[in-house]
């Protein structure tokens, strides 16, 4: 227990030192804010997805699904009519783009007559007669959610212009669905409810449906499975949603890890300020000890003070996190829409779970950070307390041990990285170990650097140089910590920058290699092949007929089911040129391509990684329209188009196994002597009727890199935040240092130190700290980059990247740490200058 009086004194102290209390509060708040913001964004995206899959699933327990082009509607007829499987309902799903709202909308095509057992909550079963007739017979009639309609100014009777694949269509809002249940209301967000026949037409799926919904008992399951034709399979309704949700797991984990990094930097801040509080009150604690306060009481007092401040900071952090979360959710959602699936997220409401998680993380981190200083306070002896330099002495003694411990932790982290080859969580823990370990070495490094620099500094700057290097080395308990905090932040900057730069240049090279055709024609497809967008059949012919087009290639991108889960399948032409377009990890390109033409497939690197394919003799089983078929893997190729990985086969093979004849994109090679730009324009005119994207390969590369940059926008934002937190950390450490040295500096001023020299002394000191941090951050940052590229990235996504070391990044990093440190020194000097010499001397 802490005596009441002691606690009150502690609290008074917190209030009396508003700057430091504020800093501690800020450290916790910023860390918590980033954690909360990322958590909000992730869970908002997850919820958005869960809602949209709920809307689609309704009460179905099972689904019958087909291949890339869905199921023939005959499968539904056979199930329902010949085998009497009821309740059953046909569903046609897809995505269109609302042209005026510039937003993807999910299309849900249902049969209202078969619907009621499944999605009664969506209201289609409640259509009154005339509206029912219109819903079924008017191919443009849609129902939309009332809240969505209100947000976009839609009313019954309004028209809604959409783009479906390469066609522009105008839909008519037949009615608004409003639900008293807000959860149901949200499932209707960005959802178009159509009759199943209208949806077939809108999405260009004549005679086909996406799936059949069923409510089955376990007994039914076997018999239904028996009746299904080879191309169809029975799945649990939840399976589909789970598979899709898994797609983003690695992406989300990476964001969480980055947010925890911000928290770690925040912990430095807490450590600093708490330690400062302890050091400043050493005399008071000594007196208290002589008056009978036990070490345990002092220990608990420090923790209680920290807890109180941290609680306040955590609350502020939750609020701040909520604000940040609103931008983070936009960034995260955009990335998910770019890369994974269409999800509609209308906001990131703060949930209790997120708030509790944020506060708990903040308090935990703060307590952990305060543990050292609290122990220090407990160790204050009645006698030694009267000697001011005790703490520094002990700290200096501790420095080598800390460095040894740091090395050990780093090595442990390194071992973790080497041994735990698959677990991403362990990898992240190990990464933190490495960084933390090097941070522990930072004080020793700083002390060492100072003794190396002292002769040079003395020669160059005279007594100020000597004094400055001495001070930095002597006050290692704070200069070391400041250097460590700064080092961590800067090395994160280096690591992340190098990783992104390497990734980007790898992707750019790959784009150069892959996008060899001159003109690309495709339909906008939010969420990738999941949206099922395809080109009209005649596009290939239209493009081929354009003068100046030498050759046309087609690509089909589809998702096909397999025992491994849903697999992205890329179908290309057999053209000889294709062989040169794929770089293989360990296969001869000509040989591999020859096998592909004979019916084998090649798989992308992330695919091989994800499914742990053996390097040789692997095969991939895919659900085709003729049943499950095995495809031998001829090689693993480099591909950065998707982290899920992709399987590639040629069209001839695809058409043997699948009925789908649709195209996702058409690429044209321009004949020699023709201007690609002019041919692109001609192609654009030729397909002008349709809403197609016609781009030259340069533009396509640019667009691809834009998506890349967008994907890393969150990462960049987090990196900046880490630097901000670190800067505040350094600033507070230096401030503490200066405050502690007020008397010493006052003495110097009294002995004739000029204000100019005071500036010089302080700035040299802070510059030295910055230099130490910057120098140490270079190897640390590079190590971090290597770990990110070679371990984290590989274990998250399975991509090989060529390490790219932009020298500018390193120079920038060094400059960043020195400038940050210098800037951090400005306020303490100004503060000192305002103080009279006498006042300074009166300190303590």
């Amino acid at each position: 227990m802490i005596p009441n009086g002691l606690l009150r004194a502690g609290l008074r102290d917190l209030v009396r030192r508003p700057l430091h209390t504020g800093l501690m509060l800020l450290g916790v708040a910023l860390g918590v804010a980033v954690v909360v913001a990322i958590d909000l964004a992730n869970s908002a995206a997850r919820r958005g997805f869960a809602r949209s899959s709920e809307a689609v699933l309704g009460r179905a327990t099972h689904q019958v699904r087909g291949g890339s082009a869905g199921l023939p509607e005959e499968v539904y007829r056979r199930l329902r009519v010949d085998h009497g499987v009821r309740p059953s309902a046909p569903v046609v799903e897809g995505v269109v783009i609302a042209r005026d709202l510039r937003q993807p909308l999910r299309v849900l095509g249902i049969d209202p007559l078969a619907e009621a057992p499944f999605r009664g909550h969506l209201g289609a079963g409640k259509l009154a007669d005339p509206a029912f007739a219109a819903f079924v017979t008017d191919p443009s009639a849609v129902l939309v959610g009332a809240a969505f309609a209100e947000r976009h100014g839609l009313a019954p009777g309004s028209s809604l212009r959409v783009q479906a694949g390469d066609r522009r269509e105008t839909l008519r809002v037949l009615g608004l669905v409003e639900s008293a249940n807000p959860e149901v209301g949200r499932t209707l967000d960005a959802l178009l409810l159509l009759d199943v026949g209208s949806a077939q037409r809108l999405l260009g799926m004549p005679g086909r449906i996406s799936h059949v919904d069923l409510v089955l008992t376990d007994a039914d399951v076997r018999s239904v499975a028996r009746w299904l034709p080879p191309g169809a399979r029975l799945v649990r309704a939840s399976e589909q949603a789970e598979a899709v949700a898994e797609l983003t797991a690695a992406f989300e984990l990476n964001l969480v890890a980055l947010s925890l990094l911000a928290l770690v930097v925040g912990m430095f801040l807490v450590y600093n300020t708490v330690l400062f509080g302890v050091v400043q009150r050493r005399a008071v604690f000594g007196t208290l000890r002589t008056l009978g306060t036990t070490p345990g009481q002092l220990f608990r007092l420090i923790l209680a003070e920290t807890l109180l401040t941290a609680a306040l900071g955590a609350l502020v952090g939750v609020g701040l996190g909520y604000v940040l979360g609103q931008s983070a959710v936009r960034l995260v959602t955009r990335t998910i829409n770019d890369l994974y699936y269409v999800v509609s997220v209308s906001g990131a409401p703060l949930t209790l779970a997120t708030a509790v998680k944020g506060v708990a993380t903040g308090l935990g981190a703060a307590l952990l950070a305060a543990l050292g200083p609290a122990l220090e306070a407990a160790r204050v002896e009645p006698v030694t307390a009267l000697r001011p330099s005790t703490f520094e002495t002990r700290a200096r003694r501790l420095v080598p041990w800390l460095a040894l411990a740091g090395l050990a932790v780093s090595l442990l982290g390194g071992a973790g990285l080497a041994l735990a080859t698959r677990s991403l969580l362990v990898s992240f823990a190990a990464l933190f170990g490495v960084v933390l370990g090097i941070a522990l070495v930072a004080p020793a490094f700083t002390v060492g650097l100072m003794s190396i620099l002292r002769p040079a500094a003395s020669r160059l700057l005279g007594p100020i140089g000597r004094l400055a290097t001495g001070t930095v080395a002597r006050a290692v308990s704070r200069t070391g910590v400041a250097a460590a905090a700064l080092m961590v932040a800067v090395s994160v900057t280096i690591g992340v920058s190098v990783m992104i730069a390497s990734f980007r240049s790898t992707v750019a090279n790959w784009l150069e290699l892959t996008l060899q055709a001159d003109v690309y024609v495709s339909a906008p497809s939010p969420g990738g092949p999941r949206s099922g967008v395809s080109l009209s059949e005649d596009v290939r012919g239209l493009v081929a007929a354009v003068p100046g087009v030498a050759e046309v290639e087609t690509v089909r991108l589809v998702l096909v089911p397999s025992p491994l889960g849903e697999v992205r399948l890329t179908v290309t032409g057999t053209h000889e040129r294709s062989a040169s377009r794929y770089r293989f990890r360990d296969a001869d390109p000509r040989e591999a391509w020859a096998r592909v033409r004979d019916g084998a497939v090649i798989v992308s690197e992330p695919f091989a990684f994800r499914h742990g394919l053996p390097p040789h003799g692997a095969a991939v089983a895919l659900q085709t329209d003729r049943g499950v078929a095995q495809f031998p893997v001829a090689g693993v190729y480099y591909d950065y188009s998707t982290e899920q990985g992709t399987v590639l086969m040629v069209r001839e093979v695809y058409e043997r196994y699948w009925d789908d004849r649709a195209l996702s994109s058409v690429a044209a090679y321009v004949a020699p002597g023709h201007d690609p730009g002019a041919v692109t324009d001609a192609v654009r005119r030729a397909v002008g009727e349709r809403a197609l994207q016609v781009v030259e390969n340069r533009a396509l590369r640019r667009a691809a890199l834009r998506v890349f940059d967008r994907t890393f926008a969150v990462t960049q934002a987090l990196r900046v935040l880490a630097v901000v937190v670190a800067f505040i950390g350094v600033w507070s450490a230096l401030l503490a240092l200066q405050v502690e040295r007020t008397r010493e500096l006052g003495t110097l001023l009294a002995l004739g130190l000029l204000p100019r020299q005071l500036w010089g002394l302080t700035l040299v000191e802070t510059g030295l700290i910055g230099l130490a941090a910057g120098l140490l951050s270079l190897p640390t940052g590079l190590a971090l980059a290597l770990i990110l590229i070679e371990v984290i990235n590989v274990r998250s996504f399975g991509w090989t990247m060529q390490l790219e070391l932009p020298p500018l990044v390193l120079v920038q990093a060094l400059a960043l740490s020195v400038v940050a440190a210098l800037l951090a020194g400005v306020y303490p000097v100004l503060r000192l200058q305002r103080m009279s010499v006498a006042a300074a001397l009166r300190q303590e």
Binding site: A116, P117, G120, V136, A146, Q200
Partner: protein, 377 residues
């Protein structure tokens, strides 16, 4: 005259579904105003061509094919059956041919009365007229809703095979018309109120021989008997005050058939358009006007399930023909508790024709007792 609540069934099925209360309580729908649909109306008699006219008439909104009859096994176990197919056009004209898009909704009712066991069981199917789920054609004649079908077995459509199955309930009959096609009303135009256009085209076979299997055990027992077929199509058939109707199809032992219907108003009076047809042994028909017959209710039955109060025994008189008939249900509870509730059941007839005793069998339909038919179509 056997119009049924097509639309109510469409919407009703959704609402009556066991999970629907959730939906009902939660969801409201705000709709754009709908434009009236330009369906054809039955305004004048027309010539019938077979087998085409057995098929659907897509220019009209509503159409039904009605098979009822009484059957017996070799050991005199008696059954009554009803198999009805309904078509509802959502817009005039034939349905689109591609995919699941359609403008036609079909539904069907199937009921079996096991007289000996005192049981009546019924079922319902509902489907869109697309992709082989439901549909109708005239040449050859065929109408089906999922696995319930009526298919011509002769080119003129006078012979059909009707099949339906639901759980253990089975019906599989070969029906053969033993009399020529009857055109009810004025050469097949059957007015339902005094307003022109409130009428239907109404034809049928009043006597068909039936042979096949029925049962409740999933396989059925061989049966023979006689059936009645009605085919009627219209766009709007009820006057503004009409509530429902009582309808009789009786096959008399002496070889004649009597069809009578009365349209009931909310105030208890009858529409003047009520009428009927008397078909002679040789197939000649006599149209009966409301003044030509009188129907007296002798008993009533209250459904314990729906609380609807139905007439349950009648005396029919056609004085000009000297006909006096007592009509009695074979079973009180032959209520159809499908998405729309009505009573449709097998009856027996005892009476006299110009003083000579006669017996007969038939079916009676009573609508609008559980709920008004007004606004239903």
């Amino acid at each position: 005259m056997r119009a049924l609540p097509v639309v109510a069934a469409l919407v009703g099925l959704a609402l009556l579904c066991p999970t629907a209360p959730y939906a009902q309580a939660q969801t409201t729908l705000k709709l754009a105003p709908a434009e009236p649909l330009a369906f054809a109306r039955a305004t004048s008699p027309r010539a019938f061509r077979l087998p085409e006219d057995h098929g659907p008439h897509f220019e009209f909104q509503t159409e039904w094919w009605y098979y009822t009859g009484q059957l017996a096994t070799a050991d005199e176990r008696r059954f009554g059956f009803q198999l009805t197919f309904f078509r509802r056009g959502l817009s005039p004209g034939p349905p689109p041919v591609a995919g699941l898009a359609t403008n036609q909704i079909y539904f069907a009712h199937f009921a079996l009365t096991d007289v000996g066991a005192g049981r009546h069981a019924s079922a319902e199917r509902l489907s869109r007229g697309a992709a082989g789920l439901a549909g109708a054609s005239g040449q050859p004649f065929r109408v089906f809703v999922e696995d319930w079908t009526a298919v011509a077995t002769s080119p003129d459509g006078a012979s059909v095979r009707v099949q339906a199955r639901n759980g253990g309930l089975v019906l599989d009959l070969e029906l053969r018309a033993t009399k020529a096609l009857v055109a009810h009303g004025d050469r097949g135009l059957s007015p339902k109120s005094d307003a022109p256009g409130n009428a239907s085209h109404y034809v049928g076979y009043t006597r068909m021989s039936a042979r096949g299997r029925v049962g409740t055990d999933g396989t059925g027992t061989p049966v023979t008997g006689e059936a009645w077929f009605d085919h009627e199509w219209s766009t709007s058939a009820l006057g503004p005050l009409a509530l429902g109707w009582d309808w009789f199809s009786l096959q008399l032992g002496e070889g004649r058939e009597l069809m009578l219907f009365e349209i009931r108003r909310a105030d208890g009076s009858w529409e003047g358009a009520s009428g009927g047809t008397l078909v002679a042994q040789d197939g000649r028909t006599r149209r009966l006007r409301s003044a030509d017959f009188e129907i007296t209710v002798l008993e009533r039955w209250r459904s314990p399930h729906t609380r609807a109060d139905y007439p349950a025994r009648w005396r029919l008189r056609v004085p000009s023909e000297g006909l006096e008939l007592d009509v009695q249900p074979l079973l009180s509870d032959q209520e159809m508790r499908t998405s729309f509730v009505y009573w449709e059941g097998a009856v027996s007839v005892i009476g006299t024709s110009r003083g000579r005793p006669l017996t007969g069998r038939g079916y009676v339909e009573l609508t609008g007792y559980a709920r008004s038919m007004q606004g239903v179509f």
